[in-house]
């Protein structure tokens, strides 16, 4: 039991919330599905927002949908996202 917890903790330790940064000149709107609800998040140019601490789906301005585990750093450029 303890071993299992330890292993899972080591694996899940870096699971902090994901952050999204808008590198575009315009405000971008993301649709985030988290905990069973759909939320629209508007990102000002240059703003960084912390989203989905426990995994979520994001619909990007260009129509792409990506799933996030939490912990990623997402940059939005030209409506498209690059995940780090």
């Amino acid at each position: 039991m303890i071993m299992m917890l330890v292993v899972s903790a080591v694996l899940s330790a870096p699971a902090v919330a994901a952050s999204v940064t808008n590198k575009d000149g315009d405000t971008q709107v993301l649709v985030i599905v988290e905990d069973g609800s759909r939320v629209e998040v508007a990102l000002e140019p240059g703003a960084t927002e912390t989203i989905c601490p426990s995994g979520c789906f994001v619909t990007l301005p260009n129509g792409d949908r990506i799933a996030l585990n939490g912990g990623e750093e997402v940059e939005i450029q030209g409506g498209s996202a690059s995940v780090k």
Binding site: L11, S12, A17
Partner: protein, 845 residues
């Protein structure tokens, strides 16, 4: 509905959640591992990626199927709380796996985007057309991208549904609970008529079932039955004898005449409740497990056996606890101040209540198993509540209370008003609630009072004993403390520390043992608590920050391991490498210190990253700190850097004799912030490193220990300076410990009318011996001077030369003669009386 069975026989279904948790974990792990596989697979060929997408698609379909299954099961088990908990866990796991499936497609999406960016925009109007291959690829990429988006959209919807289902389950469970408690049954004659009809039927069915089962067991499973009982007895005996051996003085009440110490009473009460109960629970669990494993149980008998065992354990626990607290037979061991008679009555009442409540659950389960009408269960609980309420009322009227200092066998007084009112009110609620039809609520309250009360009392006793054990010098009084003292010769302080640790671990034990018990009592399920504990240990979320307790513990553990490894490595380097290669002590010290700091820093980094703290976020902290460094931490940082310079440059090493400002002494320790200098008076002066780097530091023993000593001395001015100088040179040459090269020197420094001043300057191989050599040298010189009769000082009174004229001299002589004549006359008169005296008495002129 609260279930006693779950409380005490969690082994039986406790195994299930464990395996389920493991399964969930494995699924999550396998999905977590999937992106890595996908990444490697995505690059080489498109074939694999399409199969990967297909794989994701089938996975999603399967997840959808699973979701439907779970939904169906939720409908089917909408009245079964335990099943609902499991289903909720399954739904949450499914949600995670859906997310993982979509995450696995992300690398491919990135790859497509990259490729599309490489291809650039399609040629505009009028531009030359592209090659057919490129157009084809463009189409294919776009199609694939759309497919991935569609898949992710599907996953999104599934995830929403799974979350909704999970939330719905929570809602259903809440409703179930409130329904069970607040359900109202009309209490009237019909109810009892119906119940009495049902009870005879149930008795017959039970009789038939049990007899059939027993016959079957006796005929076909005799060996298995005995085996199971023997094995479980063995398990319980091992546990019991082991715990007795370990905790013997803590559980048994030695017959004594005097009153045992409070701690002894507390710990005996606590352990004599907990350990035998655990043994009993182990026996019950093992019996059930073996009976089940040997296929002795049948589906209709198993729940009855299980609840029977659980109720037996619960009642045993209650009786044991009441016995521990009230000690009806021996007033010395009683924890509360009640009379002998009161204790006996209270014990009886508590045990009866526990028995009635247990019987209620036992009979209720039998009815459930045998499929009797619900009214029967209701009526049973109705009577059980009435009886318990009545017992509470009786309890209110007994007179057990003693005041301080009263003998246990004296007559007690009634309860204090508040307790009396509380008992009466609870008793009345337990009587009137079922009469008004709220049987479920009455049953819930009765169970809470009995079981939760008992658990809380046990916890409280445990807390008290923990506190008592950790009180100053209390542990040394206990039997364990005495044994430790004898065995390991621990001192008072060490024993105190052990006591503190023991107290804290008792607290921890209480939390781990009893909080889940109470939660189970309040209608939570094992899986709930498991997932809470899991979440508590792995992710505590505060805002957007997730803290993982296990992660932090692992971090600390790794840090400690890192420290130990560093120590070991440091020792190894120092002892096996540096010592062998005859490196200078200063270098050794520097290397050792550097290794230790590097090790600590490394261990710290490893620990931090294991604790889940992102190192890049530390950069932010460092950035913020740099401002602070500019102001407040300036000194510390400057000292720190100076310390590093000291380690690298090594202007002095440990053991050197240094002079820094007004401080003079030996360097004892060079650490990164400050250096310890021990003065000759054994005062340790801690000098900040920056002072040592910025200021002037004298080091007597920097490159070597060679040093010069000076001995100043004076002799009487009447001596011949050359002779004295020769003698001194001889003595110095003969002196042990002084170097011949550079040659010692005797300097004639000054002379005056009274003294000739010399100074001896000689070199020593080790300046640390200077004082001793100086003292030796002085002694040798003095001895030699005395032997040579060289006066060190002049006569006691100085000789005063007087100049006088001849006339003056004559005058003075005449005056002296005159005075002598006058003195001589009386002296002559006296001599006539003693005529025989010799002429030697003649005074000198």
């Amino acid at each position: 509905m609260v279930s006693l069975r779950r409380l005490f026989l969690s082994n039986e279904d406790g195994l299930l959640p464990m395996s389920r948790l493991l399964f969930v974990l494995l699924t999550v792990l396998s999905f977590a591992a999937a992106p890595a596989v996908a990444q490697t697979a995505a690059a080489p060929a498109t074939d694999t990626t399409t199969t990967q997408l297909e794989q994701a698609s089938t996975d999603l379909d399967r997840a959808g199927g699973q979701l439907n299954t779970i939904r169906d099961q939720v409908e089917r088990y909408k009245d079964d709380d335990a099943q609902l908990v499991d289903l909720k866990v399954a739904a949450e796991a499914l949600n995670r796996s859906i997310l993982s499936i979509s995450i696995a497609t992300r690398p491919r999406l990135e790859a497509i985007k990259a490729r599309q960016a490489e291809l650039g925009d399609p040629p505009g109007e009028g531009a030359p057309a592209e090659a057919a291959v490129v157009v084809e690829e463009r189409k294919k990429l776009a199609a694939e991208r759309n497919e991935i988006n569609a898949l992710t959209g599907e996953a999104e919807n599934l995830s929403i549904e799974a979350t909704k289902l999970s939330n719905r389950i929570t809602e259903m469970r809440r409703q179930l609970f409130s329904e069970a408690i607040l359900k109202r049954t009309d209490v009237n004659a019909d109810l009892f008529m119906e119940a009495s009809g049902a009870i005879t039927k149930e008795a017959q069915t039970l009789n038939r079932t049990v007899t059939a089962w027993m016959q079957f067991v006796w005929k076909f499973k005799r060996m298995q039955l005995f085996g199971a009982v023997a094995l479980s007895l063995l398990a319980a005996l091992v546990l019991l004898s082991g715990s007795y051996r370990l905790f013997a003085p803590l559980i048994t009440r030695a017959a004594r005449h005097d009153k045992p110490h409070y701690i002894t009473r507390l710990s005996v009460a606590f352990w004599s409740t907990v350990l035998p109960t655990m043994a009993a629970a182990a026996f019950a669990g093992a019996s059930y497990f073996f009976l089940d494993a040997f296929k002795v149980l049948r589906t209709d008998i198993a729940p009855i056996i299980s609840i029977g065992l659980a109720v037996a354990v619960a009642v045993y626990f209650m009786a044991q606890l009441a016995n521990a607290v009230l000690s009806p037979s021996d007033g010395h061991w009683r924890l509360v101040r009640v009379s002998d008679r009161g204790a006996q009555l209270l014990w009886l009442l508590i045990c009866s209540m526990a028995l009635v409540n247990g019987a209620d659950y036992f009979l209720g389960t039998i009815s459930e198993v045998l499929g009797s009408p619900v009214v029967l269960t209701v009526v049973k609980s109705f009577f059980a509540s009435l009886i318990i309420g009545g017992l509470l009322l009786v309890t209110a009227f007994i007179k057990p209370v003693l005041s301080k200092g009263e003998a246990p066998d004296s007559q007690g007084r009634p309860w204090p008003r508040s307790i009396f009112v509380l008992l009466i009110l609870t008793g009345l609620v337990l009587i009137f609630a079922p009469l008004l039809g709220y049987v479920g609520m009455a049953r819930f309250i009765a169970t809470q009072i009995i079981v939760t009360g008992a658990v809380i009392v046990t916890m409280y006793i445990g807390f008290l004993s923990g506190r008592a054990v950790s009180a100053p010098s209390a542990f040394a009084e206990t039997a364990v403390g005495k044994r430790l003292e004898e065995r390991f010769g621990l001192g008072q302080v060490a024993l105190d520390q052990v006591g503190l640790a023991a107290g804290l671990s008792i607290y921890l034990l209480i939390f781990i043992l009893f909080i889940p018990l109470i939660l189970l009592q309040w209608g939570f399920q094992v899986a709930d608590i498991e997932s809470w504990a899991y979440r508590f240990f792995t992710e505590i979320r505060i805002g957007s920050i997730t803290i993982s307790l296990v992660g932090i513990l692992v971090g600390i553990l790794l840090f400690v391991v890192g420290l130990v490894v560093t120590r070991w490595f440091q020792k190894w380097v120092d002892g096996n490498v540096l010592a062998r290669s005859q490196v200078d002590v200063g270098v050794r010290n520097s290397v050792r210190t550097a290794v230790s700091y590097a090790g600590v820093a490394l261990a710290g980094l490893i620990g931090l990253s294991a604790a889940g703290i992102n190192l890049s976020s530390l950069a932010v902290v460092a950035g913020a700190l740099s401002l602070g460094i500019g102001f407040g931490l300036q000194n510390i940082v400057s000292n720190f850097v100076s310390g590093l310079i000291l380690l690298a440059e090594r202007p002095f090493k440990v053991g050197d004799w240094v002079v820094a400002g007004t401080t003079e002494g030996f360097v004892r320790r060079i650490s990164v912030r400050a250096t310890e200098i021990e003065t000759f008076q054994r005062q340790t002066v801690i000098v900040p490193n920056s002072v040592l780097i910025n200021g002037q530091v004298g080091n007597w023993t920097h490159r070597n220990k060679l040093g010069r000593i000076e001995v100043a001395l004076s002799v009487h001015a009447g001596n011949d300076p050359r002779r004295v100088q020769d003698i001194l040179t001889e003595v110095v040459r003969a002196q042990q410990g002084l170097l011949r090269n550079p040659e010692p020197m005797v300097v004639f420094q000054a002379f005056s009318s009274t003294t000739l001043d010399f100074e001896i300057r000689a070199f020593l191989a080790d300046i640390l011996n200077g004082t001793g050599v100086k003292s030796e040298l002085r002694a040798a010189i003095l001895e030699r001077f005395r032997a040579e009769e060289i006066p060190l000082g002049g006569p006691a009174a100085p000789e005063v030369p007087i100049k006088i004229s001849p006339e003056g001299a004559e005058l003075i002589t005449a005056l002296l003669d005159q005075a002598t004549e006058k003195l001589r006359a009386p002296a002559a008169g006296r001599r006539r009386k003693t005529a025989n005296e010799g002429p030697d008495a003649e005074p000198a002129a």
